[in-house]
Amino acid sequence: MGTETREVIELFIDGRSVRVAPGASVAAAVLNAGKACRASVGGERRAAVCGMGICFECRVEIDGVLHERSCMIEASEGMRVRTVDAG
């Protein structure tokens, strides 16, 4: 995987650099950065709930792909994540 040998992964959440341990999920990185994930149909801020890919509340944009379940995807070096808090 290549990521196993690194001590820390740097990714960008809404343009801001965030560092996490290898193996961390994107959802964990988003939460650690104090951000929520998506806007609900009615405009509420929502963040991860189930942590196992079934609730779909942790959806974010990852490297240009919309609606990715951030709890199911490992953070990787240089990844660009966009959340509801992108502003």
């Binding site: 996490v20 149909v41 509420e44």
Partner: protein, 465 residues
């Protein structure tokens, strides 16, 4: 696109799936294990290295089973002498035609709506644990753990270990209700010891019976919780868990018979009235893939229900070549899943006598699980926490009042879009089932959202077209 024929396909890499793959391989059968997580172990053994988790993970990796991680099975269909599994993964869609399939699809948490439960920072209890295992930093975070069941203790202990500040563990069950459970536990010293060890490790955390969260408050994220006695606690996160629900979606789309078991709040009452007895399975009939999707009128408004896959003593469902083990048969925990997975593996490999040998063990495990379910039965107050304006369907933002104005699940879906979002009712369906007593059983493929490409490439786009 990848298309192939295999002997035995196991869907799900938790304890049941692992055990099934190991047992089938021990009989010399070819096995492909499909799992949607990055590594086998399921939810319960996520990132757990030592103990049984390590042993079983090693066993399955050495078994010769072909393990495919990161693969989502979104449809299953009995066709042309095999069971066709339609899959998707980062590497693209694929079709697996298996002579026999073992569905070991595990469980998810039951989430019950309460005011404020949609605020960021309100997690499932297993959800928070999973996130923390995957890098979420909980150090110094003030957390209230609430709901019901032994998972509360396990997760509180875990959070404590990770240096979170667990403010309170609120167990909705009354202490008196758990006394009977203690009796059941005593029959199983191993489990008693486990429980005691857990209690000891979080001895400095307040653990209250008959306590539950009635509301979460905050603007941008959760800041406070209100308890049923009016107490207000400042928090950074909330972990709530109201029990588990088996994942029966794939079993349903393949047409396997689903039975009802009344949730034990009701069963317990009935038993108390009857003053007794063992066995409370009230099995219904299965609905085929092309059969009427609507449940019979008799099933409506009589719950609460929990649908579970019906199997015989050899773990065979009502559909030929489709077996099932573990949580989809009713929440049973790790030990039950391991026994049933092993039985399913033997059975799928044609070694029925080996499977039969485990029937008594399975019975013991199931009896324990049933006692557990009774002890932690959900109380009415907890099922009635949602206010008219409380969002129940988080995908479509459908409030309680709109759902309550409907007569059944299908009506609610059509009128309010409840359960029509990406989670496909996995969250609100189980909640509505518990709160309203409706039978929620109209799953259709794909059971997970997939791209049109995956649908068309696997020939799975025809359904309902």
């Amino acid at each position: 696109m990848r298309a192939e024929r295999v002997g035995i396909a196991v869907v799900g890499g938790g304890p049941a799936g692992i055990a099934a793959a190991v047992a089938a391989r021990a009989c010399g059968a070819p096995v492909v294990l499909l799992d949607d997580n990055p590594d086998v172990g399921g939810q319960i053994w996520r990132r757990v290295q030592g103990g049984p988790a390590g042993v079983w993970r090693e066993r399955v990796k050495q078994s010769g089973a072909e393990i495919r991680s990161g693969v989502t099975v979104f449809d299953a269909e009995r066709t042309g002498g095999c069971v066709r599994l339609r899959c998707d993964s980062a590497a693209g869609p694929s079709v697996v035609d298996a002579e026999r399939v073992v569905l070991a699809t595990g469980a998810r948490e039951l989430f019950l709506p309460f005011p404020g439960w949609t605020l960021p920072g309100v997690f499932g209890v297993g959800g928070l644990q999973a996130l923390a295992k995957n890098g979420l930093d909980v150090r110094g975070k003030r957390i209230v753990v609430g709901g019901t069941g032994p998972l509360l203790l396990a997760v509180a202990a875990f959070l404590n270990e990770r240096e979170a500040k667990v403010e309170l563990i609120a167990e909705q069950a009354e202490r008196s209700g758990l006394l009977g459970f203690a009796g059941a536990v005593l029959g199983q010293p191993g489990k008693l010891w486990q429980g005691a060890k857990l209690r000891a490790s979080i001895i400095d955390v307040e653990y209250r019976f008959g306590a539950w969260i009635t509301e979460a408050r905050g603007e941008d994220r959760v800041r406070q919780v209100v308890m049923n006695d009016g107490r207000v606690i400042d928090v950074d996160a909330v972990a709530c868990g109201f029990g588990l629900v088996g994942n029966t979606q794939l079993a349903q789309v393949v047409g396997a018979g689903i039975g009802h078991e009344k949730r034990d709040s009701e069963v317990a009452t009935q038993r108390d009235r009857a003053g007794a007895g063992t066995g409370h399975l009230a099995l219904g009939t299965g609905e085929g893939r092309t059969g009427a999707q609507m449940v019979q009128t008799a099933d409506l408004k009589t719950g609460p229900w929990q649908g579970r896959v019906v199997v015989d003593d050899l773990m065979r469902t009502s559909v030929g070549g489709v077996l099932c083990a573990g949580e989809p048969l009713g929440i049973g925990g790790v030990e039950t899943s391991l026994v049933e997975g092993t039985m399913a593996g033997y059975s799928a490999a044609g070694r029925e006598e080996l499977a039969r040998g485990l029937i008594p063990r399975r019975r013991r495990e199931r009896a324990f699980a049933a006692a557990m379910e009774r002890a932690f039965a959900l109380r009415e107050e907890v099922l009635r926490l949602a206010r008219p304006e409380t969002i129940v369907c988080r995908c479509e933002d459908v409030a309680m009042a709109r759902i309550a104005s409907c007569d059944h699940w299908r009506g609610a879906k059509l009128l309010t879009r409840c359960g029509m979002g990406p989670c496909q009712g996995r969250v609100c369906g189980a909640a509505v089932e518990a709160m309203m007593g409706w039978a929620v059983r109209d799953v259709r493929p794909p059971v997970f959202p997939v791209s049109m490409n995956a649908l068309s490439a696997t020939g799975g786009a025809m359904e309902g077209a």
